[in-house]
């Protein structure tokens, strides 16, 4: 599904990613953890095609094809989805309007008929149930005036509607209360299947109790310094990043 090889990248002339290598197969869930500023969101945004990031070295392959030249909308049409750490407000554009346009452009790119207003409404209502969102959000402007948690739920709603092949969830758990966390994680789990890959960026082991990952990676200074199974998250929870820092400094093999 996704192959990242020795990826080096920068923004505004500042180098952030320093040789990331990551392989994600269909159906796998990978968790990426790491200290603030280590480059997790940079990687996520770069995968989604944010034009501000510059690839200096290495490559990203998605379904066997090089991603680097592909515009963000083409990536979305190819099945990549990013749930933003900080979802963007679009004043005056209603949620349904926004999502319907996106979904229909994605459908069009796949040679599918667009959904009409009625079919779309039926779909969005059904998906809203998945993340237990109030129907009033259908007509509210995108993310404007939403609470932090509502924004995160809205991201997962979008994922549910767009049905991506590769979903990158950037700190979807932060800002969610305990109940909302369960609901959102439950929603994500329902979207989990053998064809869909998910990358979960998080600071907290708690989320991984609900969305159980196949692999956990630790990102530090723009580099994956340690990978393991779900138990690695527990270890991090207990010892923090200091232990890994020491391991890395001492050249302990990962």
């Amino acid at each position: 599904m996704l192959q990242i090889n020795n990826l080096h990248a920068s923004i505004s002339g500042k180098k952030i990613l320093n040789g990331i290598t990551l392989n994600v197969n269909p159906g796998e869930v990978h968790a990426i953890m790491g200290p603030n500023g280590s480059g997790k969101s940079t990687l996520a945004q770069l995968l989604a095609g944010h034009p501000a990031y510059q690839i200096l070295e290495g490559e990203i392959k998605y379904e066997g094809n090089d991603l680097s030249e592909l515009e963000a909308e083409k990536r979305a049409q190819a099945g990549i989805f990013l749930a933003f750490q900080y979802p963007i407000e679009i004043p005056g554009v209603s949620n349904s309007y926004f999502l319907k346009t996106g979904l229909n452009e994605i459908r069009k790119s796949r040679g599918q008929e667009p959904l009409d207003a009625f079919e779309f409404l039926k779909l969005i209502r059904e998906k809203m149930k998945l993340v237990e969102m109030d129907e009033s959000f259908i007509n509210r402007p995108v993310n404007q005036g939403y609470s932090g948690g509502e924004k995160k739920r809205n991201e997962i709603l979008q994922m549910a509607v767009l049905e991506p092949k590769l979903a990158i969830l950037d700190e979807t758990d932060s800002g969610l209360d305990i109940d909302a966390l369960k609901i959102v994680a439950g929603g994500v789990n329902k979207l989990r299947n053998s064809n869909r890959s998910i990358i979960v960026v998080t600071h907290y082991q708690r989320l991984l109790n609900y969305i159980v990952p196949d692999f956990v990676h630790v990102l530090m200074n723009g580099k994956i310094v340690k990978s393991g199974g779900k138990e690695l998250a527990l270890e991090l929870e207990e010892f923090g990043y200091d232990k890994i820092k020491v391991e890395v400094e001492n050249g302990v093999s990962v």
């Binding site: 909308e73 346009t101 452009e105």
Partner: protein
């Protein structure tokens, strides 16, 4: 421009003086003396002022040279027979009363004036005949005709328009819509000078719409002057739609007077004409009054769209809010000048003004100028403005959901616009404006199709 206009030897201003002479010997002769005097004085003012030049601070950004060169004909007695219900249907806002005018001439058979109790609607000329002193009471009461050349020109020459009065305690059930169609008359530019007087008595309420459109290409100048008088505790919602074709000219003066505890809301949508100026002057004469002056302008091609607003607080405890938004394309030029003046007596004034501009072309120009003049010490007055393109993060967010850049830009522009059109409370009026915005933006963004704005909660 090789039409009959340039054949004339007299200058445009001499031409106007001649028109006045002919009118005063005919149509104006039977008018009451007070009006004759005002007309004569207005003509003198206009003669003295001439057309405003850019040396005039109020016209600094607005070059109207192409208007001043034209030798206008003034509305003839031509009958306009080529109009059917069918042809005007698209201008009618659903569930409203409407009056249709072509080059200022009232088309009775196509109109649907209100017949409710407590509402008076007359042509201005009939009103002058039927109740001259009432008209006199509300005539040019809140404008300085010696300083405003287009208002003076209108006052000296007007021969069309309406007088509307909503009596005490009357809440009109539907909006009254005035549809002004500007039509080509043998390629001779017409000077169309409607004069409207709207009076809303104590505790009364009115939704009032002026819509300006064209059915064919012309170089007419619509020079309208509308006066709105709100008595105590009254409400007026005023919608102006300026959607004439891109070749013609549009100058509007709107003067509003508000008494105690009255509420005024206005929305000015400007998208048409080659040069247009919307000049609104509002005066708060009574305490506890509330004003909202909003608008949206969309300029394309080489259009010049100018919105000039002036809000004057003379009494304490009044609120004024103003939000104007603009979207600029191509080589167009828009001007926003918003002045708020707070007299020393107007303590506890609460005033806020915002002007946001979305610049979608490197060749478009916006001149935005907020002005606050405050002579009271206990007031809350703010203004703010922005000029910018589409937010890069928003664009990325839209694209990351599969939306093509072209649709993303259009969607962003539509959102930008609808965040201000949604302040129009009456849903029929809002929908009507939203539809105009959608079809305009669809054209501006390369004939993509935009869904109709969804949020009608």
């Amino acid at each position: 421009m090789n039409n009959k206009v340039t054949d004339s030897l007299s200058s445009p201003i001499e031409n106007i003086l001649n028109k006045f002479k002919i009118f005063s010997e005919n149509g104006f002769a039977s008018e009451p003396n007070w009006l004759k005097t005002i007309r004569e004085n207005s003509l003198k003012s206009f003669q003295k002022l001439g057309f405003p030049s850019q040396k005039n601070e109020e016209w600094r950004y607005t070059n109207i040279n192409s208007i001043t060169k034209l030798n206008f004909e003034t509305s003839s007695n031509k009958e306009f027979l080529n109009y059917s219900k069918q042809s005007i249907y698209k201008y009618i806002i659903s569930d409203s009363y409407y009056l249709v005018f072509v080059n200022g001439k009232y088309l009775q058979n196509l109109s649907n004036p209100p017949k409710e109790e407590g509402v008076i609607v007359n042509s201005i000329k009939d009103a002058i005949k039927l109740f001259p002193s009432e008209v006199e009471n509300y005539f040019s009461k809140n404008i300085d005709l010696e300083a405003n050349s287009f208002a003076a020109l209108n006052t000296s020459l007007f021969d069309s328009g309406v007088f509307i009065k909503i009596k005490e305690n009357v809440i009109l059930s539907k909006p009254i819509e005035l549809i002004y169609i500007s039509q080509n008359q043998e390629n001779i530019p017409q000077l169309i000078s409607p004069r409207n007087i709207i009076v809303i008595k104590n505790n009364a309420s009115l939704d009032f719409v002026e819509q300006f459109v064209t059915n064919n290409s012309n170089k007419n100048l619509t020079n309208i002057f509308t006066e709105i008088y709100l008595d105590e505790n009254s409400i007026c919602n005023y919608l102006k739609i300026q959607n004439e074709v891109d070749e013609n000219y549009h100058i509007a003066n709107i003067s509003v007077s508000q008494k105690t505890s009255s509420k005024f809301f206005s929305f000015a949508f400007s998208a048409g004409s080659s040069i247009s100026r919307n000049q609104m002057a509002l005066k708060l004469f009574g305490e506890n009054s509330d004003t909202n002056m909003n608008g949206l302008y969309i300029s394309t091609a080489k259009q010049l769209i100018d919105n000039h607003t002036f809000i004057e607080h003379t009494q304490p405890n009044c609120t004024s809010r103003e939000v104007f938004k603009g979207i600029l394309y191509d080589n167009s030029h828009s001007v926003f000048n918003g002045k708020v003046y707070v007299h020393s007596a107007a303590q506890k004034t609460d005033s806020k003004q915002t002007n946001n501009n979305l610049l979608l072309s490197d060749n478009a120009t916006i001149d935005t100028k907020p002005q606050l003049e405050i002579f009271a010490d206990d007031v809350k007055c703010t203004h703010g403005g922005t000029v910018g393109g589409i937010d890069a993060n928003a664009l990325f967010y839209l694209k990351s959901r599969g939306i093509s850049p072209k649709s993303a830009e259009a969607l962003f522009a539509l959102g930008f616009a609808s965040a201000v059109t949604e302040t129009i409370e009456n849903l029929n009026l809002r929908r009507f404006v939203d539809n105009l915005v959608v079809s305009k933006l669809e054209k501006c963004h390369g004939n993509i199709s935009l869904p109709i704005i969804a949020h009608y909660h």
